[in-house]
Amino acid sequence: MSTPANKTEKPFLSARELCIMALLTVILFAQEQLMNFLPNINFTILLMVLYAKTFGFVKTGMIITVYLILDATFMASLNPIWTTGQWIAWMTVPLLICTVFKKTEDSLKLAFAGALCAFLYCWVMILPTMWVLHTPFVPYLIKDVPFELLLAASSFLGILLLYDPLQKLLKKLLRMEG
C-alpha cells in the first residue's frame, strides 16, 4: 500500500533519464567504432568513468550491458565465455570508480584511476582470450603490453583533458530535467 511519502519519491529511472542513458550508450558504442582503426586507442574508459560518476554503479552497469551486447553483435564476437569475460572486465570500471574512487573528483587522480582500469580490463581479458582462442599465456602477456599501454595512456589523456568539460555538460543536461 502506498503512503503519501513514497508517492513523492523519485523513481529509480525516469523516462528522460532512460532516454539520456540510451543516448550515452550509443555515444559509447559509436566512439569505439569510429576509433576502431586505431589499436586500443579510444574514449571507452573516459565515458565509463564519466557515467559511473554521474549515474552510479547500477545505471552504469545497465549502460555497459547494453553497449556490450550491441558491440559484440556488431563485431560478431558474441560468445558466452568471451562476452561474459568482457562484461566482468568492463564492470571493474564502475566498480572501482563507485567504491575506491567514489570521493575523487580531481581529473588527474581520475586519469590515474582510468589507467588502472585499462590495465585491469586487459588483464581480466587474458583468461577468456586464452580459453576461446587457445592463446599461450606468456607470449600473449608480452605481446599485449604495448596494447595495454595504448589503452591506459589514451584513457589517461582522455580523462585528463575531457572529463571536467564533459561532466559539466552532462550535469547541465540532467539538470534540465523538470
Binding site: I41, L78, N79, S107, L108, K143, A153, L157, L161
Partner: protein, 130 residues
C-alpha cells in the same frame, strides 16, 4: 596544478606514440633469402604455392601482394588472397601459420627468415556467433 596536468598529458602522448610505433612497425628481415608461401582452403587443399626470394628490408605484405592475386590487407589483417575471402560475419578467417605453428602476430609484423614456410589457411572462426 595546470602545469602538472600539461606535463602528464605530454607524457601520455609520448607513451601513446611509443606504443603505437612498437605495434605498427612492420617486420623487415636483416638478410636475403627465400620463403615458401602456401595458400590453402578450408579443407587444407592447396590453392597456390610459391617460393619467394626476399632481400634485406622487404616487407612481407609487399612480397605477398607482388606474388599472389586478389590480396587485400585491411587494418593489418589479411582479408583476401587468391580465391580466399573473409566473409563479413567473420564465420571464417585467413589464419597465418609459420613453419607449422599458428602465428602470434598479424601479417604486417610477422617475422620471417630464410627457409621459412608460411601458410595462409582459411579457418573456421570457432568463437564467432556461438
Amino acid at each position: 596544478m595546470k602545469n602538472k596536468k600539461v606535463l602528464w598529458a605530454i607524457l601520455a602522448v609520448i607513451v601513446i606514440a611509443a606504443a603505437y610505433i612498437l605495434i605498427a612497425k612492420p617486420f623487415t628481415p636483416k638478410g636475403d633469402g627465400s620463403i615458401t608461401v602456401k595458400v590453402t582452403d578450408i579443407d587444407q587443399k592447396l590453392i597456390k604455392e610459391k617460393k619467394i626470394v626476399f632481400k634485406t628490408g622487404d616487407k612481407l605484405t609487399d612480397l605477398v601482394k607482388n606474388n599472389f592475386s586478389n590480396v587485400v590487407i585491411d587494418n593489418g589483417m589479411l582479408m583476401k588472397i587468391e580465391s580466399l575471402d573473409t566473409p563479413s560475419d567473420w564465420a571464417q578467417f585467413i589464419a597465418i601459420w609459420t613453419n607449422g605453428k599458428l602465428a602470434e602476430v598479424g601479417i604486417e609484423t610477422l617475422p620471417y627468415a630464410d627457409g621459412d614456410v608460411l601458410e595462409f589457411r582459411m579457418t573456421v572462426n570457432e568463437y564467432a556467433g556461438k
